[in-house]
């Protein structure tokens, strides 16, 4: 299988979350059966650093990156995610997932892209990591003039 040049791949459109929703943190805490109150009880985060804003679950921060990758390469395309967490995301924050392809390779007959990924709040790095994404399904769009762009969470909200 011939590995395409990096320049023939569309860039990964970033994904913007305009407002991290505290109500979704509560649902997530229930699904995870996570007893840690910083995710659902504003009184537990009443210190100056948090100001009563609950803390988004780490898995949700990583999920924004996963959603960005799936919007780019398709559901079911993610083969590996490795992430390190550097700061909390608080209720009401706006965050942006972004990434770029570092390397293309074949493994087990499957073409993959190794990507650097991150989650940002403004200029603050929240999550950094790497991902491996299957890109076989992207043959149809590889080589087009698709430009890097941004997907907003509001767009997804409209689809719900």
């Amino acid at each position: 299988m011939e590995v395409p040049a990096l320049s023939t791949l569309p860039l990964i459109p970033s994904l913007h979350i305009a407002c991290v929703d505290p109500q979704r943190m509560k649902t997530m805490a229930a699904l995870l059966r996570d007893p840690y109150p910083i995710h659902w009880d504003p009184e537990s985060v009443s210190d100056a650093a948090h100001g009563g804003r609950t803390v988004n679950q780490g898995p949700l921060n990583l999920a924004y990156i996963a959603n960005m990758l799936m919007a780019w390469a398709g559901d079911g395309s993610i083969r590996r995610l490795e992430a390190s967490f550097h700061a909390h995301v608080l209720a009401g924050d706006a965050v942006t997932a972004s990434g770029e392809v570092d390397e293309l390779f074949d493994i087990g007959g499957e073409r993959r892209a190794r990507c650097s990924v991150r989650l940002l709040r403004g200029d603050d790095l929240i999550v950094t990591g790497t991902a491996e994404v299957a890109i076989a399904e992207m043959d149809a769009i590889a080589g087009t003039d698709r430009m890097p762009g941004q997907i907003s969470s509001e767009l997804h909200e409209d689809l719900l």
Binding site: D34, Q57, P59, G76, R80, L81, G129, L159
Partner: protein, 178 residues
């Protein structure tokens, strides 16, 4: 039952296709004081979770995906974020139990360092997965005054499908501030 590995504590009586792998909770006691000894931290390495079974139904996958602020997944595919809690629950443990096991203290004393999630096969709604794993590393850190500052504890859990094919492997790294 097609599963042959160690029987989880509550799965023996679970009929095929009907799984309840949510472990009992031991919430973190916010008043807990005291730091695990060096020996207790070292002894964590090799600890095995009981192991068990877990499936994700449509409602859970939908809600979980909604929490990530995107539209539902296509078909019956599970959202990738399932690799946080499903392995933990499939292994018949819980976040609360792990915090207790590692001597987690009050709110703010446990920090997530990172994950490595490997997706070895597509995971789907309504499939019963088996979880097995345990603590693989525990490292104690001290300040210049010799006082314990934190413990970094890593655990690995694998999920396998009814054909006993490993479909996912997760490594989770947590820091317990002391």
């Amino acid at each position: 039952m097609r599963y042959r590995l160690g029987v989880p504590r509550f799965a023996e009586s679970i009929p095929d296709g009907h799984v309840n792998a949510v472990a009992t909770q031991d919430p973190v006691d916010p008043d807990r004081v005291g730091i695990p000894s060096d020996e207790e931290i070292a002894a964590l390495v090799g600890y095995r979770f009981p192991g068990g079974l877990r499936k994700v139904e449509r409602w859970e996958n939908w809600l979980l995906t909604d929490c990530t602020q995107r539209q539902p997944m296509s078909g019956k595919q599970l959202h990738p974020v399932v690799l946080f809690h499903v392995p933990i629950q499939a292994a018949s443990t819980s976040i609360g139990e792990i915090f207790s096991l590692c001597g987690g203290g009050p709110a703010g004393s446990v920090t997530l360092l990172g994950y490595e999630w490997e997706y070895l096969a597509v995971m789907s709604e309504d499939v019963v997965y088996r979880g097995d794993g345990g603590v693989v590393a525990a490292t104690r850190f001290r300040g210049s005054d010799g006082r314990v500052t934190h413990d970094d504890i890593f655990f690995v859990i694998e999920l396998s499908d009814p054909e006993e094919t490993t479909v996912a492997r997760v490594t989770t790294r947590w820091r317990f501030l002391r």
